[in-house]
């Protein structure tokens, strides 16, 4: 993730209190060196549970251009919703305003959603895929436009594997893992009985 568009990768992370940490890379492409974390501000205030009307705990961050204006926005899965922080800065200096809550035609999103933006159905518009607390993975089709996305109700993405079925608190990464041109899913998890946290790979058929 390149926060400030300088060509070298930075790191961002949420935390349990709802903060957004930015670790700027002060090294090189080959040898990244991260500076001490800086807490993100939006509308002049540090983002943390309660700092803004909609800011909640347990932030899971996704940095992507959701509203088609060429700037990456922050989509944050929280305890009971997904909020959208619009980037009103520029590519090298992102700046964010008060968040708004995202909705879908079925209502709100599941608890502790892990949002991921991708054109899943390849119709030229970005859709949303989310991992959830309960372990379901959902596809929300963008039935709006590129610049004004509107999400349909959830459609479950069926994933199988015996042990996987017991896991929950799913966190998603979507990538072409094996470079075969098909989308693959990586799913992080929690399984309290064994205090485990495997990473599952589901290769696209």
């Amino acid at each position: 993730m390149d926060w400030n568009n300088d060509g070298i990768k930075d790191l961002i992370s949420g935390d349990t209190n709802g903060r957004v940490w930015i670790f700027m890379n002060t090294g090189t492409k080959e040898k990244p060196v991260l500076a001490e974390g800086v807490q993100l501000k939006a509308a002049g205030k540090i983002v943390i549970n309660g700092s803004h009307e909609l800011a909640g705990p347990y932030s899971k961050i996704h940095y992507a251009d959701w509203d088609g204006d060429g700037l990456n926005n922050l989509l944050i899965g929280q305890l009971s919703n997904i909020v959208f922080y619009k980037n009103v800065g520029n590519k090298s200096e992102p700046e964010f305003v008060d968040p708004v809550e995202l909705t879908n035609t079925g209502g709100s999103f599941p608890d502790r959603s892990s949002p991921y933006v991708i054109d899943w159905d390849e119709d030229g518009k970005k859709d949303m895929i989310i991992g959830t607390e309960n372990g379901n993975i959902f596809f929300y089709k963008n039935i709006g436009t590129v610049k004004s996305p509107k999400l349909s109700e959830a459609k479950e993405i069926k994933l199988e594997s015996e042990e996987f079925a017991k896991s929950y608190r799913h966190r998603l990464e979507i990538t072409d893992w094996n470079n075969d041109g098909k989308i693959d899913l990586l799913v992080g998890e929690r399984y309290a009985q064994e205090k485990r946290g495997y990473i599952w790979l589901f290769l696209g058929k």
Binding site: M1, K9, L11, S13, D15, T16, N17, R19, W21, F23, K29, E30, L34, A35, E36, G37, P57, Y58, S114, W120, D121, E122, D123, F139, K141, K155, I157, K158, L159, E160, S161, F164, R171, E173, T175, W177, N178, N179, D180, K182, D184, L185, L186, V187, G188, E189, R190, A192, E194, K195, R196, G197, Y198, I199, W200, L201, F202, L203, G204, K205
Partner: protein
């Protein structure tokens, strides 16, 4: 005869509409092979006290994707550098990522 042609046209139209509708839906219905655990050094990657949060990036710019994941214990972030190829990633050990010279440790939950 004319009527029959018209009804044939109509049937073809319906068939096309169904096919177009079907292919549109098919692209939304991606399917996946059964899940496998990502491995490192021959064992499943299992972050300390759970809560794995994977992300993929070519961290060291060597043309191969690497794996970064959060974990619950001490809110640390693990980096697995890819020892294989970009199309066939292989992981051995991980390091905890540092920032400002210290291991990153965030409030976890």
């Amino acid at each position: 005869m004319k009527f029959r042609n018209l009804s044939l046209c109509f049937c073809l139209f319906v068939l096309c509409a169904v096919l177009v509708g079907y292919s549109g839906d098919a692209s939304a219905q991606k399917t996946f092979q059964p899940g496998v655990k990502l491995m490192a050094d021959g064992k499943p990657i299992d972050v300390t006290t759970g809560h794995s949060v994977p992300t993929v990036a070519d961290w060291n710019n060597d043309g191969k994707k690497d794996l970064i994941t959060g974990q619950f214990r001490d809110g640390k972030i693990r980096l697995y550098l890819n020892q294989g190829t970009d199309a066939k990633p292989v992981f051995k050990d991980s390091v905890y990522m540092k920032a400002g010279g210290k291991e990153i440790s965030l409030p976890a939950g």
